[in-house]
Symmetry: D3
Subunit: 210 residues, 6 copies
């Protein structure tokens, strides 16, 4: 016999599929669209889709910028798909730099957990510089799409976490956009006012051709 | 051996799939959803997905309205899918008219490139008419969903381009919605106050039945 | 021979696929995404996709809460997919109660069609109670995500309809979230301050384990 | 002395102003913006801002269309401001008609509470008619911006409630947009293909000039 | 004399006011609306509007829950207004608990910086529990509006930061919504199934009346 | 005496204020918010608020880039406020260049009306270059926030119009963001890998200090 309590329990369950949009864990085997990835079937979703441990591991800063960005965007962390949020870890060795870049798809809040970081962004049109040295516990917001950078301004390693207002904020590093592909040198010179030798030098460093 | 520069280059590339949402070129072979068409795989996207040449060709104005609308919506121009924008070309021969219509899915800005166009829209509820004769270089905005029209008010051909705030703004021409389908004449009379002979006349012109 | 009128008719029809986003009737056989279900092919859509008769039937209130909620969300009513709206029917027998719950995905407006209903919601942070007894014809709005309830405060059956600002507003009944699953009793005690016997009693009523 | 419990209570209250955006009851004395009206100060908000009784009163159907629409949009019902939802009451006397119209700002779901209503809408571009006779308890959705109508198709009075996906959906009745203002007759003829006598007749009925 | 370079510089500057919407630092002296607070005049904005140091200070956990939540929402951190993001600091002493709560206005990602936290959320309708013990560096996402909690499951103090997909996510603690206001005891009993003595006990602890 | 027709006319007019959100013409004397400028009172709105003639006038290209951008954003063209769209005129003398830039707030479609323009954009993360020479009538889309440029690649003047998916798309020219303000030279060198003499040279050209 089914008790009244159980009855109502199942009654509400009968609409449970509508709940699929509580969340939409990314299914990378189905098509994606303008709003994000397709959703995994709820029955296949587990708590591990909502948890990510990859930010607990320091990124390798043995590189030219002495820095590493470890993303937990929808691609790495499928639970945030469709939820308007994602994170990334930022490791900056002494002297480390995250060069000028933008996130075309979202705003960022940087949280300094260790060390000292000098960060700044530039407004559009007026080109105003907003510059600040951030200490442990400080947070700073970088509005969507604006050029910004982070520099380790202390003598030792710094650690920070960046939060984004999108599960897929994107990352366009200006130097890589200009010098790490096959954009012709002359065209870069014309569209940046940079001198050709400067362009060739940076293409050499960053692996660009043309 | 991989140089440090190359290392960081690949490091950032490792998150490159997240960048798929820089854009979402329409893939017409996959399902579409409320936010638009599914996205083509980035590896298959070329610059030609972002370029459309169809608006360079004059539409055929040898028709009853002496006008032609050539759309560059997401269906014709897959690169705008998901990006909140699209265009259309408007050719108006002398005496040409784009009859009263709405775009249910977006606002429009009309740019007159050649000739003189009298355009207007009507606000909802208050039914206020906003009417203006536009010359070359003038632009006029028609807010989303409101009835509006364009008439060639000069003696020669006019050319204009319409921009929309949606990749799929839609186009509902009032006359076609009423008279170019199988909506019963009596029902049209009841819901428009138009006389039956008038309705039958326009059904004849526009190919309606019923 | 094709007349000019017919010509323009077909001219505009040539862009008819763009109109698919007039609506996006849910296709439950294709993937869903953060913005909702995939769209049925327009050619397969009929008027019955836009009409739902299930709210004409009283829900079964022979249960513990003497109430029934019959949803017309996107899952039951595929025509509302992507359109930012849905409805539900609420039957309250004498003494009936819709216990404290939230709709994580949308705001609600309740319309009382028969009987008398005492309804209330609580604001976040300030915990202010907004409480009102509603009569036939009254409407009340419950902002998105806030705890609210409805109680039949008259002596006879009440009937109401709820409208939502989302096709998939969700429904989280606090008691079911706490006591109708396998959440360990000790953890519930810790996170609600409720006494263990109280928790065990409600788990018994609502079918929870652990 | 303040007990620990009270302490935490005030601690959370210290962030209570952030909760202002739980809701945004319209303040008609402050500027409005693209997202809606400004918000009343939370301290001045009462439960009556969230309750509206105006839909309990039948509209006056002693008019040319034997119908009345009573809105509970943000202007009449300030509690829905910013919440993506509103309602309206629709009274249709025997023979009553809500003529062809659109809601530029939102989708509609119609709920028939009494009587029989024949309702329909027309898709854009393809001009497909979706037509249905609705009985008590039936609901039908009209996608945003599309032309639609409702006709009392029974022999007695009908009552329905319309829900909208916007607090300010707007209402543009095609006949009023064309014939109830000062739009010149010749321009109407040009942009609708209607005959001049027909236009003059309807201008006479609906109070238009020009 | 103005050089050509300077000329173009001013040329672009002439449109600089349009750039005000790069960001919209909250002005608490002007009205707020559904999209957030009004914007400070750009000329008065300084870098300190984009930086917040309040999360660097441990919250006071000498309270009944041995926990403290320090928000950096738009009210405390005006630079995030309109940008779809905010943060909060979470201090949990040994035995500390953030009781069951929701954020009606946004999704959350929790980042554990120190200690061990057991966290969980419950889906709507299906009432599925997603439960996980999080270690330093782990992140977990809690979808918008769903009930969730955090418990210090280690033997020592824990520290975490929560990121939200809204500058005003709100915070509704279930116990406070039910027991820390003047909601009548009988009504709580009816709408929660809790026993009256249990309700009175918690009202006593949390400062409720009625 | 008021005829029935007039009666219904006034009946609908009684809800006319709700129609204010058909459009929201910018009022620069009231506060702006995250969604745009406040709205002018409808009674003060005229058709001239919806029309802009400034794009009919060629911009002055006697400057360092031999190019001029004339915006019709919400600040110049108040009628587009809140409508998700705006335009700009682009004049390129022979040899003219619009240097690398982004629009943080919107996507762009460029329409070539006269001459030949070589345009390109770079994707984020993968740094793929999408490059095309556009002729009269061609359109090209630049997704939101991505670096792009336009170069006159013909021997004579070129004219183009850019449409944007936002009334306030913003314009951040990389060179101006880096070299036309007081950002310290050393910091630029650190965050761009550019050589100090190159930076100083461009600061000189563009009016930067520091």
């Amino acid at each position: 016999m089914i008790s009244p309590a159980i009855f109502i329990f199942f009654l509400f369950l009968s609409s449970s599929h509508a709940a699929v949009l509580d969340f939409c864990v990314a299914d990378f085997n189905a098509p994606d669209g303008p709003a994000g990835y397709s959703c995994k079937k709820p029955a296949k979703v587990t708590v591990d889709d909502f948890v990510f441990s990859g930010l607990g591991i320091a990124g390798n800063t043995s590189n030219i910028i002495k820095a590493a960005v470890t993303p937990a965007f929808a691609m790495q962390f499928p639970g945030v798909n469709g939820l308007g949020i994602s994170l990334a870890r930022l490791d900056l060795a002494a002297g480390g730099v995250v060069p000028f870049h933008t996130h075309p798809g979202g705003s960022e809040v940087l949280l300094v957990v260790q060390g000292t970081i000098c960060a700044g962004f530039v407004s559009s049109s007026a080109n105003t510089v907003y510059l600040k040295t951030l200490k442990k516990g400080d947070i700073m917001v970088f509005p969507q799409g604006l050029l910004h950078f982070q520099v380790n301004s202390g003598g030792s390693a710094a650690l920070a976490f960046a939060s984004f207002s999108s599960p897929t904020p994107g990352l366009q590093i200006t130097d890589f956009a200009l010098f790490a592909n096959n954009l012709p040198t002359e065209l870069i010179a014309t569209t940046t006012f940079l001198d050709v030798p400067q362009i060739k030098k940076l293409k050499g460093v960053l692996g660009g051709t043309g």
